[in-house]
């Protein structure tokens, strides 16, 4: 497998975020835009993920979350996340990321305190899940850039659509 220096990814992502901040100026807009960018990446990444990962069909949301955390993050960011805090009906959980290479050298200045720096990751997860007919909401509940001790993505599965066939059977 080819490898590249992770610094180039961290610096590229950093300059994307910087450019968005310069262009849009409002942190909420930047967060939204990062999410949209992530979504566009996710809808394409899911095919690569399913092609290369040797996973079986997931029986329920728990297995889906485990696959994202262990296989997905490992494949694309070379790190694994831990799934924690399932709620009572198994629809919400947290993905705890110990080390996130996107934030390697980053320190947020005061002016950017509302910025969710890695919102792109949330968009990727949301987009990927949507392509397999699961709609989910995804956001950062804890962020080391804002002073918390670790990074945690809050994942909430909202619904699962049945496979929609574009053609009617009897045509």
């Amino acid at each position: 497998m080819e490898t590249i220096n992770s610094e180039i990814l961290s610096l590229t992502y950093g300059s994307i975020v910087r450019q968005l901040i310069t262009d849009l100026e409002d942190m909420d807009e930047v967060n939204k835009q990062l999410d949209v960018m992530g979504y566009n990446m996710g809808i394409r990444l899911i095919d690569e993920f399913l092609a290369n990962a040797r996973i079986t069909k997931c029986g329920d949301f728990k297995e889906t979350a485990e696959n994202i955390a262990k296989v997905g993050f490992k494949m694309f960011l070379n790190t694994t996340a831990t799934v924690v805090n399932w709620n009572a009906d198994n629809t919400e959980c947290g993905l705890v990321l110990e080390d996130n290479l996107l934030i390697d050298f980053v320190e947020l200045p005061e002016a950017c305190s509302k910025l969710s720096y890695c919102q792109l990751l949330c968009g990727v997860i949301r987009g990927a899940l949507e392509m397999v007919n699961i709609s989910a909401e995804c956001s950062f509940s804890r962020d080391t850039l804002h002073g918390d001790d670790t990074n945690e993505i809050h994942l909430k599965f909202t619904s699962q659509k049945a496979e929609a066939y574009p053609y009617k059977d009897d045509d």
Binding site: S10, G14, V17, D104, V106, E107, L108
Partner: protein, 154 residues
Amino acid sequence: MFLCAAVIGQNSQPLWLQTFQEAASSAVQPSDPLAFHYLVHCALDGVEEKSAVALPRRVPSQGAADCYLGQLYSTEEYTVHGLMTNTQIKLLVVVDQDAPREDALRLVLNRIHVAYVDAISNPFNEPGLPITSARFDQSVKQIIAVANGTAQPV
């Protein structure tokens, strides 16, 4: 004993300066940072001299291309040593009478260089503007404390 560290930019603008005054050695008059700013400024002339000499005869055995410039300026109480990177960023340290050996100085300056590179890799850092990274402050403090023997290396 390292007393002060400073980072000077390409156009000789000060980017960062920090003094490290030990509580014990405040027998000497407690210098305020302004005195160190002045010292560092005077040392910049030394940088110009040394770099004008050093650059033409690039010593192949020097390995890494960063030029450790050695002693740049001295007064009765203090001496200033420095390192200049290929991007004309100067890293200077001010030491007092019991000057450390050259290899200790090189080590400290190289470590500060590493910390500096991490600080400017922050996408929110503007090149040419003063460095405001808390992580950089902390790293250099740790480097100097280890060099001064007041802290254990982690």
